[in-house]
Symmetry: C2
Subunit: 317 residues, 2 copies
């Protein structure tokens, strides 16, 4: 089995550059190979950037996940942060720290996964860094662009706003619990809501937005706190896939807990001003955003979150 | 002694945000606290970005370096990458992975060092990520801006160009060797040549540029290879501080080896077209760039690097 140490840094970088291509285009003036990459937005756009790290045995395990899955998941989490801002992807850089005895097949698989999502979302790898470490750490910084003044933000909730989520929740937590109980590997991949968020960013009367990475309740609390308001959450309306409750009970899991506090679904939680909420039916909103949308509550002037008191195990939120 | 695990992620992030300030200004529309930061360049500027990682016991040691020194050094290396492009700094993000039992004083010291350089170079911390790991890894991605089409690049050498370096070389390698031999801690800090590089980027007849992080010969080979040309290097003209040779011999070190292949001086290696070289005396160039400039060779159509054959131990370059 060949290992990273058999190739050395320069050859590994050549290998990555070959697999990813130059990445240059209308947004990327200069990609991999210089001291820095050069990016250009279109006129009247701002840059958006976010960083995230995945640590071996904390966020992923080589033993239970395929390298491709780990790579895809890593980029999806970052793409979802762009979605939360209503941004279109431009590119990403990767600082990879890994043990010299990491197998080349894991290394290649990781990049195959990253580059697969990169191609799907037109978000090329434009630079990076390789370093030696005891434990593999993937640190990704992603870049996007959003039209000036139209970025979706966490601090834009207002009392009276209607609260919505896209898609269904709890699926990622259920898949994780199932894979842990059954000892199978986890393969379910979420879809970053890039297109839906861009449509939302252009909608008159839009409020705040966040991607649901920690779970509906914790992420709702993030935007409540950033905006200085409170909310009523209609727990019973939180959308899940059909058969979700039965599947949870089959595994002796609390379905409410999974749908309200299970992380990594990467759906959007957003608000609309009262008038925009009245103007747009759920059907119309779903059509505009290209994904099912459900109202799950309302923003209140009074701070604090109401509607989840009956759940067990919510003390730590 | 208090440790990271005593505070938890959210409180640590608050602590960093308090220490760094919001970072918002004319370039940073939205800093720490949302899903992503929002940046804006001035009209007719491109965006420049670079990433780098420092790994505990590979790139730094808690036992021989102060946390402040490690933090300052980390940002300086990244600022130097912006300098190599002729860019002005806009901000940076940090993905920090660290063991939960890391002392809070090391954590605070690290940020004090980072933020000190950040303030000196008007390059605020605009976002980041904290994760648990066995080994501390600082992964920094830095952002800057350069006027469109004026970025300094590695691939712009042409046959006939004159090759120059700023400042003096070998000092970082000598300080490192001295600290290793004497068991003292390393405190010498290089200065990223941001201002000099911006002046160079506006100079008519400028060629290629790189920052000297690996050492003069390896970094010269990077730009030769990116540009598809060769060079004569005038080894005997490579500038060092007064007393450098004596200090090297005192420690039984080869001064040529240190000045030609010692890394981390972060001076600039750049070229000027033949006509620009004739037009600007060394004195005039030094005045324009605000730092002593020395010609150290010439670019040739014939590939390969000549002038270092007499050195011992250069086989691996």
């Amino acid at each position: 089995m060949r290992r990273l140490s058999d190739l050395g840094e320069r050859e590994l970088i050549r290998r990555i550059a070959r697999a990813s291509g130059p990445g240059e285009g209308s947004d990327v003036i200069l990609g991999i190979g210089d001291d820095a990459a050069i990016l250009r937005t279109r006129p009247k756009e701002d840059f958006v950037t976010s960083t995230d790290a995945l640590v071996e045995n904390v966020h992923f395990r080589w033993s239970t996940q395929t390298p491709q899955y780990i790579g895809r998941r890593a980029l999806i989490a970052n793409l979802s942060d762009l979605a939360a801002m209503g941004a279109r992807p431009i590119g990403f850089v990767l600082a990879l720290s890994a043990p010299p005895d990491l197998s080349l097949s894991r290394f290649d698989g990781l990049f195959a996964g990253l580059l697969r999502e990169a191609r799907s979302f037109d978000c090329p790898l434009i630079g990076g860094n390789l370093a030696r470490s005891n434990q593999t750490v993937l640190s990704i910084t992603i870049f996007g662009a959003v039209s000036k003044g139209n970025a979706l933000r966490r601090d834009q909730l207002r009392a009276g706003d209607a609260l919505y989520v896209t898609g269904t929740l709890g699926g990622a937590a259920l898949a994780l619990a199932r894979s842990e109980q059954l000892g199978t590997s986890l393969r379910r991949l979420p879809v970053p809501r890039i297109g839906a968020a861009r449509a939302l960013s252009l909608l008159k009367g839009r409020g705040a937005c966040i991607d649901i990475s920690d779970g509906l309740v914790p992420d709702l609390q993030h935007i409540l706190s950033a905006s200085g308001v409170g909310a009523d959450l209609w727990s019973e309306r939180v959308p899940t896939t059909s058969g979700f409750s039965a599947a949870c009970r089959h595994l002796q899991l609390d379905p409410n807990r999974l749908s309200l506090a299970g992380g990594e679904d990467y759906e959007l939680l957003f608000s609309l001003r009262r008038s925009a909420s009245k103007r747009n039916s759920l059907r119309e909103l779903s059509d505009r955003l290209g994904i099912a949308v459900t109202q799950v509550g309302q923003v209140t002037r009074e701070t604090g979150l109401r509607g989840v008191v009956s759940l067990e195990g919510f003390r730590h939120y």
